[in-house]
């Protein structure tokens, strides 16, 4: 399952590090196809002119941008081609910042980089990033599309995480939380105590996508002609006042703690 998506060369000043890109995540979402029931075959996607109701063949489709006033500005293929980035294998490091300077809210998707050819320079770069607590901002063009990413060391290897563009991320610093009267110090203290009482280690493996699991089971059962049973669901009640709720929760959390 270690398939290489793309091969490139990290360019850091004069240095060149050939790498192979491999996905660091697997999408396990179960995807369905839409069937035309009478025919029992998958439907086909068409781009249709709403004025004529006719499908426009792919080679005749043009591209354009809609302005705020609703006008369409048509862009010719030739014009768009001119804007397309030049083909290149380079993953150019344009900036180096302290590690964690790139907030994870910029992240889109992580990729492992594997050394392509001699591993010496690859591991030297990983180690240099690690030792100095640095990450790089990288830019590259892959299959005619421009990408930007964060290059960081991880478990001794290099990881490249694609990043959103500046205009796509809402700046959290510009956003202020709700304001109001000073919080009751007693409630505040209890709330912190409750958090402490509910604190533990994060064990990602203990969370399972139950829905995905059930859908997979349904498909399997249907494929083999069986039926499956569904699980019952539960409900709970809660008290009215904030202070009373906190007190009760704390009591409960402590009790659970002492049992465990």
């Amino acid at each position: 399952m270690a398939s290489t998506i793309w091969k490139g060369v990290i360019r850091l000043g004069e240095e060149a590090v050939p790498v192979k890109l491999r996905s660091a995540v697997t999408d396990r979402t179960i995807r369905f196809r839409l069937l035309d029931e009478p025919r029992g075959a998958p439907v086909e996607q068409r781009m249709v002119n709403p004025e004529t109701g006719k499908a426009v063949p792919f080679e005749k489709i043009r591209r354009g941008v809609e302005t705020e006033s609703g006008e369409i500005v048509v862009l010719e293929d030739k014009e768009l081609e001119k804007l397309a980035p030049a083909e290149s294998r380079d993953i150019e490091i344009v900036r180096v910042v302290p590690s964690a300077a790139i907030d994870h809210r910029w992240y889109v998707r992580p990729y492992w980089l594997a050394p392509d050819g001699e591993p010496e320079s690859y591991f030297a770069l990983a180690q240099a990033l690690e030792e100095d607590g640095r990450e790089g901002v990288a830019r590259w063009t892959m299959r005619k599309k421009e990408y930007q990413g964060a290059l960081h060391p991880r478990d001794g290897y290099l990881m490249l995480v694609t990043l959103r563009h500046a205009s796509e991320v809402v700046s959290a610093a510009e956003l202020e939380g709700p304001t109001g009267r000073e919080l009751d110090p007693r409630e505040r203290k209890m709330a912190v105590q409750l958090i402490e009482a509910l604190s533990g280690d994060f064990e990602p493996e203990s969370y399972v996508d139950e829905y995905r699991k059930r859908v997979a089971e349904l498909i399997e059962a249907k494929a083999s002609g069986k039926r499956i049973r569904l699980e019952p669901k539960r409900e709970r009640k809660r008290p009215a006042s904030l202070a009373a709720a906190l007190e009760k929760s704390l009591e409960r959390a402590r009790k659970e703690r002492s049992v465990a």
């Binding site: 240095e15 396990r28 998958p42 478990d155 809402v170 959290a172 990602p204």
Partner: protein, 334 residues
């Protein structure tokens, strides 16, 4: 590189409407909240046009057919490896869907440093629902002083999400996370064992890194250069009046890719408004949590929204209805 589904999700990331409204429960304390996007769509998205410039609509046609298939004649199916299809009805999927709890139950808090960013998939802001700023502020204050993040699962759009709730600058964020079985380790990815490197080589790379070093990230370096370039081209064409088309007919909203309210309200503005205590939702936003009354603007809703409404009203046979059928059935049941 991003797969098709991902791009579609990105598209849904646009707009300023709450995705979800419900309650964060923290022990027995309830914090009513609304979930808003934390990301904007790309600045420019290209549309597909007919040769005369008319924007095209995406439709599903029967194989080799001459017109769109009616929704009631379609069914979802899973393709097995041997090419056979297993048909699954919407009702069956609904039965399997986790109960719509409208609840994010914080039963575990962890040190923020313990959360691996690789798990994060998508960020949302949580705004207090009208009149519920006090428990919101209390939870934020307590989480910030304890420097902890909450972990929970919740249900949105028939899917179960693993989520980290993070408090920062007085604001709560929800970050959906990938499940552990979706993360590949270096070993899974077939990376070779790290080999020994010479100190000299490491120093050489360290020097090269230093040459490009900056204390902070300059967001300008992550600018959407392609969108910029397209915008520039569009402006020059508009100024010259070249290749500018005014669509003859008002386009009906097709649900998918419908971005009619895109430019009207800025996401930041909307978030700020909602953070202010007691701010009412913007016009056009669905009433949080409550759907007992039928809205008057059914025609302007997307089919998915109508379907959700039909589901809340327990309208039978909804998965096979067309948009018009859904509108009629919703009106009847009200």
């Amino acid at each position: 590189m991003p797969e098709k589904g991902e791009e579609q999700l990105e598209e849904q990331g646009g707009g300023t409407r709450p995705f979800w409204s419900g309650t964060i429960t923290f022990g027995l304390v309830s914090v009513p909240v609304e979930l808003l996007p934390a990301n904007r769509p790309r600045r420019v998205s290209l549309r597909m046009l007919a040769p005369d410039g008319t924007p095209l609509r995406r439709e599903y046609w029967s194989p080799g057919g001459e017109e769109a298939v009616e929704t009631k004649e379609t069914i979802h199916a899973y393709e097995l490896e041997d090419g056979r299809f297993v048909e699954v009805t919407d009702e069956e999927l609904e039965e399997l869907a986790p109960r719509k709890t409208r609840e994010i139950d914080l039963r575990l808090f962890v040190d923020r440093a313990e959360l691996d960013p690789v798990f994060f998939e998508r960020a949302y802001f949580l705004a207090p629902s009208k009149g519920a700023t006090k428990p919101y502020r209390l939870l934020v204050a307590a989480m910030e002083s304890a420097d902890k993040a909450g972990i929970a699962t919740f249900v949105m759009r028939e899917r179960e999400y693993l989520v980290a709730i993070i408090a920062e600058n007085g604001v709560l964020r929800a970050e959906t996370m990938r499940f552990a079985d979706e993360i590949r380790s270096a070993e899974d990815a077939g990376l070779p064992k790290p080999s020994k490197v010479e100190k000299k080589a490491v120093r050489r790379f360290a020097r090269a890194l230093e040459d490009l070093f900056a204390e902070e990230l300059d967001p300008d370096e992550l600018e959407d250069r392609r969108s910029r370039a397209i915008e520039k081209l569009v402006r020059s064409k508009l100024a010259a009046g070249k290749d500018v088309v005014t669509p003859a007919i008002e386009r009906e909203s097709s649900g998918e890719g419908d971005r009619g309210d895109r430019a009207v309200i800025d996401l930041m503005e909307e978030l700020r408004r909602r953070m202010r205590s007691g701010a009412a939702p913007s016009p056009g936003a669905p009433a949080p949590g409550r759907r007992s009354s039928v809205p008057s603007d059914l025609e302007s809703r997307s089919k998915q929204e109508l379907y959700e409404l039909a589901k809340d009203l327990a309208i039978e046979g909804r998965s096979r209805m067309t948009k018009d059928d859904l509108i009629r059935a919703i009106r009847r049941s009200a």
